[in-house]
Subunit: 311 residues, 2 copies
């Protein structure tokens, strides 16, 4: 079996090769380099150049080293008939749940304010009135593997959780909304809004002045999906008016976030450098090996991208 | 039924009275004032003066509006034969679990460092290598109602959790240690140490140079119990040497933490004003009503303080 490997992150290339060779000991795995047009059965990629995947009729499947396939679909070089497979979890579900739970608890328990008090004027000791749990509904946009795991973690702490997805889903204890017709009703009950959607033409810019204005006044925004979901210019006026109390953003239209971007200077915005979930290499390599074995047996695999939906 | 009520927090006195009267509609509840020596069946107190509880042979039980009874036992005015009953939970278990989980995730996911990076030099975008989950054991000192709930929340995120208590306990999935003979072994595996012990003569000063030096190098300390557990002067040298990487402290020897206390100025110490768990009044009042009804029926109640153990 011939496997072509590529990653846009050269610092981790050797570590990936090691983990892939451990998981697939009988495969011939080579790193793709410009000009390499030799045949391959499978491609394992992360943000590949178009050239790598063009004119490869012998390929049986392409594996994307992450849950988001927006970058690879934009290239328009993977034929619709060729299976494109996401690594949906690869150890990422627990990580996004950790990250989202931390952000929610930090805001709900006012720990961001306590930290500011402790650092101001040489230290201020001032208990603050707590938020009421009953009015503190949390809405999760996107109920895939990662969004579901976030719902579970927030339910563990007794929060009221609702979710919104493109097509109707049923999750235990989660009030579920679906489709554009139910989006506003979902938003009106979300004191905290967490975006975990795939980035598609339908979801690009879904966090904008109109939708964010549907949230209860003083709502909190958490975006762990893609920078393209948020119309960034719409956020500062909503923070100024008090409609949005604050935000935790891990993703941005341009990454790294440019040095003079106004978000850096706003203390109401917590910024992290796209680290809410990092693929765990050994786990992802193990999953790829399992999926290749399933494909060889002619079985269905989890994570197959639906080209009509775009994820 | 005559109930005597007192709280050291006068701002909340009327709200308490309202909630207690709702939960105990048939009782005569009065606020104790200096000089009131009229008979009462039950006393409900928070940090009472000694005078209030002296010479009251008719009292059937004293309820303490919180889990820690160190302050009331020090008064030495509640006879050993009079039931003293803690409000062990009163909505506090989920709160300490939230607080502890936030502190652990903040350190584990390096979110404290990301926040410093975002605020320094106008914004620094720099992903940091994550900690390995396998070497990240968490030790909980004290396995009462609150300590157990913390263990559950950390297990929900897949952390390896161990616990230490005075007498042996069995908790699902928790590696349990007991007694002073096993303390050092417990400490040697705690990358993060969370103190949830009651404050007694045995546990006062249990967080000191000797015990904290048993932790793995670069360990993180979280104290949500009482300021008296930590020998405060021992912490700065341990932070300087790198033995302790940082700490989240919600309680202090002197509260409010005095303005010139060195902890205020150390960015490695996160300080909150004793807010990790606030008694939820309506829930505590409901529990007291239930416990009074059980005592009237001659039944046992949860939260009865053992005078030999001191909690």
């Amino acid at each position: 079996m011939r496997i072509l490997f590529q990653t846009a992150d050269p610092a981790n290339q050797d570590a990936w090769l090691r983990d892939l060779r451990t998981a697939l000991p009988h495969a011939g795995i080579r790193v793709w380099q410009s000009g390499d047009t030799a045949a391959a059965d499978y491609a394992i990629v992360w943000k590949p150049p178009a050239e790598m995947l063009q004119g490869r009729p012998e390929l049986k499947a392409v594996f994307n080293l992450g849950a988001g396939v927006d970058a690879i679909l934009k290239l328009n070089v993977v034929p619709d008939t060729l299976p494109l497979i996401r690594i949906d979890d690869g150890g990422m579900a627990v990580q996004v749940a950790e990250f989202a739970t931390h952000a929610v608890l930090r805001y709900y328990r006012r720990l961001d304010q306590y930290e500011r008090q402790a650092r101001s004027n040489g230290g201020e000791w001032k208990p603050l009135p707590p938020f009421e749990r009953s009015g503190f509904g949390i809405g999760v946009l996107g109920l895939g593997v990662l969004g579901q795991r976030i719902c579970e973690s927030l339910q563990h702490f007794g929060f009221e959780v609702s979710g919104w997805s493109r097509s109707p889903k049923t999750l235990p204890g989660v009030k579920a909304y679906a489709g554009s017709a139910q989006l506003n009703e979902f938003l009106r009950n979300a004191r905290v809004l967490i975006c975990m959607l795939p980035l598609t033409p339908d979801t690009a810019g879904i966090l904008n002045r109109d939708t964010l204005s549907q949230l209860p006044r003083g709502a909190y925004l958490i975006n762990l999906a893609r920078g393209g979901h948020l119309v960034e210019a719409d956020l500062p006026p909503l923070l100024e008016s008090g409609q949005i109390a604050g935000a935790t953003l891990d993703v941005f239209q341009e990454e790294p976030l440019p040095p003079h971007h106004p978000f850096w200077k706003d203390p109401r915005i917590a910024i992290t450098p796209h680290i809410s979930a990092l693929t765990v290499r050994s786990e992802a390599a193990r999953q790829i090996a399992e999926k290749i074995a399933a494909l060889q047996r002619g079985e269905a695999v989890v994570g197959l991208v639906d080209r009509n939906k775009g994820y």
